[in-house]
């Protein structure tokens, strides 16, 4: 008993320096940022030795989401959401596709693997510069068709002002409810096969109810703004999305390829004998088996996309309204406009969005580990 408590004390003392350092430099600073975001630190005298800071509660957050002058931030946030979704679909889809091709053991698989993984080794500033050239309005990709006698493309890859999939920010609450309803129904359908009762009771039923409330009660919700404000998917972000997919699909390819190689040959043989074609082997056996890899890829890519900064900086500059991103906005607000409190609020919003992806993952991993 005594021996055990001495061991515990030793373990605690060994861990103590790390606990203190992480406590101060990670969680302490997060706490400090939360505090700053609830003050009015900024504007004139922000850089004074002892700046005046008054507690203002959630005013900064409220202004970001509903303030008349914060429309830019809201577009950045919408950009970040579209950007994340497209990056996930693109990088995972393309990475998986290349991994499946390489899993057929073509000649020179090793060289091809290195070539596909190589963009990952480049810094975002370098790849951003390359893609900026490639997507220049009168060069690069746009002039490719002229090599086969076709007219050049006229699409403005990084400076188009067109937007699609637009919605009115006034209806924010309704939109949130639609998203919640969609997510609940999706999860419900996912577990319907395994646990019908639970799926209906906890997911499908509430999902449909929330959806109906959003549909019929649309007019009853308070509007987020006093005037109409449309946001959508700015086509100018397509170029940035392409560049990021190019840079990260090699990484997801490496993840999937390692996973495919880890599946025993017997399992593949068994599937072949069971009548699976090559495509159905991947669809029904290999890809479902690599669900943990898919989840990891989703987590990693989504938080990369939420933190995206340098690639956008290199491709379209820091203050392009069409291709803005909350991380860039945070930097500009904090260090160019010296509006520290508002910058901190943006940082916390980003932190919360990232936590929405990561916390469920960490919890499920922890549960699996304690189960196992």
């Amino acid at each position: 008993m005594r021996e055990a408590s001495r061991d515990r004390l030793k373990a605690f003392l060994t861990l103590l320096p790390s606990i203190i350092l992480i406590g101060i430099f990670v969680y302490g600073f997060i706490g400090n940022t939360v505090w700053i975001s609830m003050t009015d630190w900024g504007g004139d005298g922000a850089l004074a030795l002892e700046p005046t800071m008054n507690f203002v509660g959630l005013a900064n957050y409220s202004d970001l989401f509903t303030g008349f002058l914060s429309s830019g931030f809201r577009q950045d946030l919408v950009n970040a959401v579209y950007y994340s979704i497209m990056l996930l679909v693109g990088a995972i889809g393309l990475g998986m596709f290349i991994a499946i091709l390489l899993d057929q053991k073509p000649k020179g698989e090793d060289i091809l693997r290195t070539i596909f993984l190589y963009p990952m080794a480049l810094s975002f500033i370098v790849s951003g510069t390359i893609w900026r050239w490639l997507l220049a309005p009168q060069g690069g990709v746009n002039v490719l068709p002229t090599y086969v006698g076709l007219p050049p493309l006229t699409f403005q890859w990084t400076s188009s002002t067109k937007a699609i999939l637009e919605f009115n920010w006034q209806n924010l609450i309704q939109i949130f409810l639609y998203i919640a309803s969609f997510a609940l129904i999706l999860v419900g359908l996912w577990i319907l096969k395994n646990n019908q009762k639970r799926a209906v009771k906890y997911w499908l039923g509430p999902g449909i109810i929330v959806g109906l409330i959003a549909w019929f009660g649309g007019g009853l919700f308070p509007e987020a703004l006093f005037m109409e404000e449309t946001h959508g998917f700015n086509l100018a972000t397509l170029g940035i999305i392409m560049a990021t997919i190019w840079q990260y699909s090699g990484y997801t390819m490496a993840l999937y390829l390692a996973g495919f190689h880890g599946i025993s040959q017997d399992l593949r043989d068994a599937a072949m004998l069971d009548g699976a074609s090559n495509a159905s082997y991947y669809r029904h056996v290999a890809i479902p088996m690599l669900k943990p890899i898919t989840i990891s890829a989703v987590i990693i890519l989504s938080h990369i996309s939420l933190k995206m900064f340098d690639l956008i900086f290199a491709m379209t500059g820091p203050d392009n309204a069409q291709t803005g991103h909350p991380a860039l906005n945070m930097y500009m607000t904090t260090f160019r406009a010296n509006d520290f409190a508002r910058g901190a609020a943006i940082a916390i919003v980003l932190f919360m969005v990232a936590a929405m992806f990561i916390v469920p993952y960490v919890v499920s991993q922890y549960r699996q580990r304690t189960k196992g």
């Binding site: 399992l267 043989d269 004998l273 069971d274 009548g275 699976a276 029904h284 088996m289 669900k291």
Partner: protein, 365 residues
């Protein structure tokens, strides 16, 4: 159900030939066991029948159809793997029904066939479990169930019992035999375990270095081995092989090994004459002790000194030296207790002795 014809099948990996023109006919409803040491080509041969390995030469037909260029999924064969190869993300039900799903059978038919197989294999309580939640024996049964639901022309088994413990292996062996008696599906079974081969097979095929050594019923290969390799490989403990010379004494032929003389039966191996070198093969269980000696002719008796004795319960293994120079392994009844250093009376069933040519190592009958 179908017969399988393997004609002059060759397999090469680059310049290395591992199977050298094997011929084998597996009859309809037959249970054939391919047995041999590691690297003899038995699994490769099985995988060629399954279509998982290409042929470098020769021809394989299942039923009336040559299947050399038919893909595995279209051969209507089902295979059970050594490590079960169950899909870990699917439940037992999904694992067993996967092949039917791939063949676009109706949900009702899938369910019906899975339930039927589950009932036979007593897997009904486990249908909603994942393979990781099953014991080794249950996983093995799921693998068998997955093969059964297909109602294939041919079952292929690749060392399916080697991952199980000894007790479970014996039990599963019985179940496999019962399953074959019930379904009567043509079966090719690969193992390196000669006990499995002996207990399961209608006919055993013994392979070595990519050549078939012998094809025969378990009793044939045990009692009438084609060569020294088969004699030593089949049977545990292996056959005693003693090097001697044929001498004719008083008009009768004997294998003379130092001071020891083993009588050669009349009509056996006529080509062996006075002075021919010869190998004498004696099965350990053809050496008798105690009361059992009495049943043998008196001139088949002798005395030997026990060197080591291993009591195994049902029987005992004894190492005995006869005439002070020839070492023999004997398998005798368990109730007979012999201590090291003791001189005991033993008798040989010389009518079961097998003679081999020392040069070719082939049996002489």
């Amino acid at each position: 159900m179908a017969n399988v014809e393997i004609k002059k099948v060759v397999k090469k990996y680059g310049p290395v030939e591992v199977i050298h023109g094997v011929d084998l006919s597996v009859h309809e409803n037959e249970f054939i066991v391919l047995v041999g040491p590691s690297g003899c080509g038995k699994s490769t041969l099985l995988r060629m029948v399954a279509g998982l390995e290409t042929l470098s030469g020769g021809e394989i037909s299942i039923g009336d159809r040559v299947v050399n260029n038919v893909s595995p999924k279209d051969r209507n064969v089902a295979m059970v793997f050594q490590n079960y190869a169950l899909y870990p993300h699917m439940t037992v039900r999904e694992n067993m029904g996967f092949s039917l799903k791939m063949r676009k059978k109706s949900k009702e038919e899938q369910n019906e066939r899975v339930m039927e197989a589950a009932r036979i294999l007593e897997l009904e309580p486990y249908l909603e479990r994942k393979p990781s939640e099953l014991s080794g024996g249950q996983r093995q049964r799921v693998a068998m169930g997955r093969a059964m639901v297909r109602k294939p022309d041919v079952f292929l088994f690749d060392e399916p019992l080697s991952n199980l413990d000894a007790q479970l292996r014996t039990q599963m062996r019985m179940e496999l035999r019962k399953m074959h008696m019930r379904l009567k599906t043509t079966t090719i079974y690969v193992t390196h375990d000669q006990i499995e081969a002996m207990t399961l097979a209608d006919r055993i095929v013994i392979l070595k270095d990519g050549y078939i050594q012998q094809v025969g019923t378990p009793i044939e290969v045990f009692e009438k081995p084609n060569n020294v390799f088969v004699a030593k490989f089949i049977g545990n403990p292996p056959m005693n092989i003693l090097e001697g010379v044929c001498n004719v004494i008083d008009g009768k032929r004997f294998v003379v090994i130092g001071k020891t003389r083993f009588p050669i039966q009349d009509g056996v191996a006529a080509e062996i004459v006075d002075g021919s070198p010869v190998l004498a093969g004696i099965r350990p269980d053809s050496i008798k002790m105690g009361q059992n000696v009495e049943r043998l002719p008196k001139d088949w008796w002798c005395h030997g000194e026990v060197v080591v004795s291993e009591i195994l319960g049902a029987h005992s293994l004894l190492e005995i030296i006869i005439d002070g120079e020839n070492d023999l392994l004997a398998e005798v009844e368990g109730r007979i207790v012999a201590h090291p250093g003791e001189t005991v009376r033993i008798g040989f069933e010389f009518d079961r002795m097998v003679l081999f040519d020392p040069e070719t190592k082939m049996a002489l009958y």
